[in-house]
Symmetry: C2
């Protein structure tokens, strides 16, 4: 029997649309990588009646339920109380947890509000999970046949409790089925066209399973295999990938299981190469995504967000004559921006974007979605133009950023 | 009776942790603003058995169910088939939808793969919802007592179908309870300390409800009221806010229901003021979030991401002597960065960040989390330092970006 997991995210702010739940995605990735099958996420309010039903239902369906949120010190956090209610017993006070909460606050020279005492209360039979990075301890308890784990909703605290404790406990449970993934990144075709090309792989209950995900013009073919060992699963993925590659041709530009900015940092690091960016229509988005990658500072020298023409001149040294003759959205300006950024940041490689992201500013000659790029290096400068479908400002910018990653990954190291 | 809504997000890539579901949050915000009560989100795989159970359960509990995803042209998209199965009848082919799909593709000079025909199939009794921005039409159908709406999973297509059609249909349904929200943004106290201060407001079933959300050091007090009319609900929010403000004092720095970058753009626009940014430790994050706001180009002149010392010198004109004497993370360097950005971008106001985001690079004198800021304007330059708790690189950067918004909003217009 395969170990089945469900993930709960608890909080009024989530279900009312005020805050985005990013925890469940992260948890699913970790649990799947471990060999559990994640069946469902449920996002639910702090309302005790709803929450009770959701917890009871998930614990009836799954072997493992991980719940985030509702462990704060304030009265609108009710996970502890509702779990006690599901188990039909009173909360009890765990002295040691209260000592840890006090110690944590005192170590930061913060006051110790009495309301934090609530965080040391536990449902009957629960075992506390210490929180070294915040005041909310988690807990684990058996509900019916399921193991229920409650961890804080703050993502950084959630991750620490999962890595320090919960994932280790789950790893020892029966029913984990070793698995592996491989992602093929594709730019070019529509989803339907790609789907038709690889249709025979996309059938239910195939192992490895093959699926397509579309996001901002980027298509990802996800190959997911399970087997007796992780190595066997990885082998199955590779066999399927070897059959897919000839069908993809030039569309395929990257393989792996890391996000693209991380792949770019790895590639640049391996090549001992530094990077600068000169962004106009992408407005700092490429820089911000790069800097999110730990260790990016080893390769990323910096960037300029040059919206106005004057800043292209003053900060990147684009000659006024080039701007006047060709206009800001042009390959010569893109080339001058990349060369300016390369020189001013002293980088090995520089990449630039300048385009019409919309909704306004398009003309017949330079419609919304037209974006010019240039890549400057010791080998010279290459500029090119993309006509991105006008599917909204966010789409044009996202697609342009994917083109930045594609160009940086396509460069031979 | 209040209209109860549930939201489903369908797709293997979601439940396996490969793609983040952002649709449900957006949908919840729209439905709640309209006066529906959103009770639950469920994220589920394309597996027909699981999907069937989730759709049937949600339709048994709620008045309205909105499902995103699983409408693509490929075989791994199964929402249409499963809904037909729930309703116990075969799919039927809707000629007009197929004509629209073909027309959409031909208008973009794309091939028309036969596999797109699947997107014109509808469950029994379903009414198609035209998709003017993509190939996947949505549909609506009654399942038991609930109205079930299926829309594409691609966020930009989903939003168009919701705004053009679904929200208008829901707006005419009975049971909407007019509501209003007000958010008070707080920087300074811990969540527990703030919770204790406003404890008497945070009781179950209060109207307006008062809750606290914590994110990257920012605390948001959410006041949510329902009443006979939206105006009455807004009045109730204001009454509660008036009671809360004296308890918050200096902690409170912004009110409203818009995200902070949008509030900054609005404030600058109202003041007729342009902005430039010089970012070191925040690495373009502030610029990227600003540029996400439609209309940001009216006030945002541009920014420099100056990681290396040399780029602080070359691009922002920070004197080498200042860098050598005080170090890159210092108020004099922050001040010179802001002044340099203000001059080079010709902006009215410029803001800079320079700090130690970690995990490495901290010293006893300049520990991880120490961030210097400066704000330069025609009134002169002000620099200040924040010691952000070292709760990880992402936390330090997020908290620093919140400080950027706080400083720009605190500036008297």
């Amino acid at each position: 029997m395969t170990l089945v997991a469900e993930i709960l995210a608890i909080g009024d702010e989530l279900v009312h649309g005020a805050l985005l739940d990013t925890n469940s995605k992260w948890l699913a990735g970790e649990l799947e990588a471990m060999g559990a099958v994640v069946q469902r996420f449920v996002v639910v309010s702090d309302d005790p009646v709803e929450l009770r039903a959701v917890i009871a239902d998930s614990c009836a369906r799954a072997d493992v339920v991980v719940a985030t949120g509702g462990l704060g010190p304030t009265l609108d956090d009710r996970t502890r109380d509702v779990v006690a209610d599901v188990l039909g017993g009173p909360l009890w006070f765990h002295e040691e947890s209260w000592a840890q909460v006090q110690q944590w606050l005192q170590g930061r020279r913060r006051p110790v509000p009495e309301s934090n005492r609530r965080q040391a209360m536990l449902p009957p039979g629960a075992v506390p999970i210490a929180n070294p990075v915040g005041t909310a301890p988690g807990f684990q308890v058996k509900i019916g046949k399921a193991w229920f784990f409650a961890v804080p909703g703050v993502p950084r605290e959630m991750k620490v409790l999962m890595r320090d404790h919960v994932l280790g406990v789950v790893a020892k449970m029966p029913g984990l089925r070793p698995m592996a993934q491989l992602w093929l990144r594709v730019l070019g075709p529509s989803e339907a066209l790609l789907g038709e090309r690889i249709e025979k792989f996309m059938v239910p209950h195939r192992n490895p399973a093959v699926g397509i995900t579309a996001s901002g013009g980027l298509l990802t073919i996800r190959i997911v295999a399970s087997a007796q060992t992780r190595e066997q699963a990885a082998g199955l993925c590779e066999t399927t990938a070897a059959e897919l590659r000839p069908l993809l041709g030039d569309w395929l530009f990257c393989e792996g299981t890391v996000e693209l900015p991380e792949a770019v940092v790895q590639r640049l690091k391996a090549a001992g190469c530094t990077l600068a960016l000169a962004e106009s229509c992408t407005g700092g988005l490429a820089a911000a995504r790069l800097v999110d990658v730990p260790g990016a500072s080893a390769v990323f020298r910096g960037g300029v967000v040059a919206y106005a023409d004057e800043s292209k001149e003053d900060l990147l040294g684009v000659p006024r004559a080039v701007l006047q003759q060709h206009g800001a959205v042009s390959e010569p300006v893109a080339a001058a921006m990349a060369e300016g950024a390369r020189a001013r940041f002293g980088a090995d490689v520089a990449l630039s974007t300048t385009g019409v992201a919309g909704p306004d500013g398009g003309t017949a000659q330079k419609p919304v979605g037209m974006v010019c790029f240039a890549l400057a290096s010791a080998d010279g400068t290459r500029a090119w133009t993309l006509r991105i479908p006008d599917l909204g400002r966010a789409f044009v910018r996202d697609r342009a950023v994917f083109e930045v990653w594609r160009a940086l990954l396509a460069r031979s190291p």
